[in-house]
């Protein structure tokens, strides 16, 4: 902005020309943009992850083979996992940053508040932070269970060490606590996506009378498929492969 005050002295950020980047990360629209991109990329991960895990229905051999092939390409895996971690952390950081700003934007609540959107009862959009927090909790547990293999902090007493991926997964899913948690996690994730998917397009500016109705429908279908897909793993896999 052309104000009368002197411009601040050029610091490192200006020398390497990164002011645009900080504007992106600190402005409301930039934050929503990054939120949308990271969210959609995470949706891509979900789709791939579900596709791989549906092999649990195909039996031990195919699933172990898949897991083995995946872990063989460890160079790629490091890149992919680092990328995923960055996406998650950015998405979570922005959730906190924007939610804090939103909370401060209205200090005194209305005595009465009613929606004006026709037909709205209670929307997933009101619960994005809460549903996201539940999903985060679930993801952390899931990582502890099946990625990090941290036995010490596992209160359910599952001994997964040295087990084949298929057996370890079935064992985790057979535990009643994890079954409930995994099912709830999948459903809440679906609720999160039912708003998040199409909302991401809006935040990216991708709103068009020709395509937006389709994107909204796709978002609901995607949310449904992901929720039902992952929940079915927790509900049916242990039943099918009970020894």
């Amino acid at each position: 902005m052309e104000t009368g005050s002197a411009r601040p002295k050029a610091g490192l950020i200006d020398c390497v020309g990164l002011r645009w980047f900080f504007r992106l990360l600190s402005s409301s629209i930039g934050q929503k943009f990054v939120m949308g991109i990271t969210g959609l990329l995470l949706c891509g991960f979900l789709a791939a992850h579900l596709a791989g895990n549906l092999l649990l229905f195909a039996g031990a051999e195919l699933f172990n083979d898949y897991a083995h092939k995946l872990h063989e390409q460890w160079e790629l895996l490091i890149v992919a996992e680092t990328g995923l971690a960055v996406l998650f952390l950015a998405h979570i950081y922005l959730a906190f940053a924007t939610a804090a700003g939103n909370g401060r934007a209205r200090e005194d609540d209305y005595a009465m508040k009613q929606p004006k959107v026709p037909g709205r009862v209670i929307g997933a959009n009101t619960w994005m932070f809460a549903s996201g927090a539940v999903v985060l909790g679930f993801v952390l547990l899931h990582l502890v269970d099946l990625r990090l293999g941290m036995e010490g902090i596992d209160l359910r007493g599952l001994k997964l060490k040295d087990m084949k991926p298929f057996d370890a997964t079935v064992k985790v899913l057979s535990n009643p606590i994890s079954r409930v948690v995994y099912t709830i996690g999948a459903i809440i994730l679906g609720i999160h996506l039912s708003h998040g998917f199409s909302s991401a397009f809006q935040s990216l500016g991708l709103n068009h009378p020709k395509y937006t109705p389709m994107i909204k429908l796709l978002g609901k279908i995607f949310a449904f498929v992901i929720a039902v897909g992952f929940a079915s793993l927790a509900l049916f896999v242990p039943e099918i492969w009970r020894k």
């Binding site: 902005m1 645009w20 504007r23 992106l24 402005s27 409301s28 629209i29 930039g30 934050q31 929503k32 943009f33 924007t98 700003g101 939103n102 401060r104 934007a105 209205r106 200090e107 005194d108 609540d109 209305y110 005595a111 009465m112 508040k113 009613q114 929606p115 004006k116 959107v117 026709p118 929307g123 959009n125 009101t126 994005m128 708003h195 199409s198 909302s199 809006q202 935040s203 990216l204 500016g205 991708l206 709103n207 068009h208 009378p209 937006t212």
Partner: protein, 257 residues
């Protein structure tokens, strides 16, 4: 409240009363009898105020000017809805026939940190003015009115710009948003000028500055719930916000600003 009344109404009003910006406020109840269903909502408040003045009490302060839906000053929350139950309607255009005999009507001011309460139902919306001051104009000297055909504007651009220009700056979008976000208002102002040839020279600078001011005025962030669109009396759409998002990202990533 979907039906319409034709006979005179007896109403209970619960109105937010607050003597000044830093004073404590509270809801106060009033009863009104024999309100004509043909009155506008503001005329109903006028009747109440006349009665209060006759009794020697302080009248309820509320903003209003044109009383025909164009000035944007009259907005209040009516039973938890910005500008009341009708869509595409300002408070002054709302008629009492929309209510039923015996109804209780709760009237509150807009609530947002960026809109501090001045008194009763009156809020300070100068944050909107500061957003406009930071870029919602064309500052190149355009001289006298040019011949209409000298500046070609495609029909759809003209229509989009005209639709965006309909924003009356009432603040219902902020009031109805659960995050008190001003994005609908700012998007109307940004897209209105971005669609027209006269707005091109300052296109990037405008969106960057207006969004920066919006953020610094402590409005919340958009979470795409669509409540603003539903409350807007002027028909500004979520697609305006998407267009602003595009304008902003284009300016951040590709302009020299």
């Amino acid at each position: 409240m979907n039906h319409t009344s034709t006979k005179a109404l007896n109403l209970t009003l619960k109105i937010w009363r607050q003597a000044g910006p830093d004073q404590p406020g509270a809801l106060k109840s009033y009863t009104l009898t024999d309100i004509s269903p043909d009155m506008s909502f503001l005329e109903m408040l006028d009747v109440l105020n006349e009665q209060l003045i006759a009794k020697g009490e302080e009248p309820v302060a509320f903003d209003h000017d044109c009383r025909e839906g164009i000035c944007g000053t009259c907005g209040v929350m009516i039973n938890g809805q910005a500008h009341g139950p009708d869509s595409a309607t300002t408070t002054c255009q709302l008629h009492m026939r929309r209510f039923s005999d015996g109804d209780t009507i709760l009237i509150e001011p807009w609530r947002a940190r960026a809109f501090p309460i001045v008194r009763d139902l009156v809020v300070d919306r100068s944050a909107f003015d500061r957003i406009i001051q930071s870029g919602g104009y064309v500052s190149v000297n355009t001289g006298g009115a040019p011949d209409a055909n000298a500046i070609p504007v495609p029909g759809h651009a003209q229509q989009d710009a005209m639709a965006a220009a309909a924003c009356i700056g009432c603040g219902a979008c902020v009031a109805s948003c659960k995050n008190a976000s001003a994005m609908l208002f700012v998007s109307a102002k940004v897209t209105h000028l971005a669609d027209l040839p006269q707005g091109q020279a300052e296109r990037s600078k405008r969106v960057l500055n207006m969004v920066a001011t919006m953020d610094s005025e402590k409005f919340g962030n958009c979470t795409n719930t669509g409540e603003c669109e539903a409350a807007c009396p002027a028909g500004i759409k979520l697609s305006n916000i998407a267009q602003m998002n595009r304008e902003y990202m284009k300016a951040v990533l590709f302009s020299c600003e």
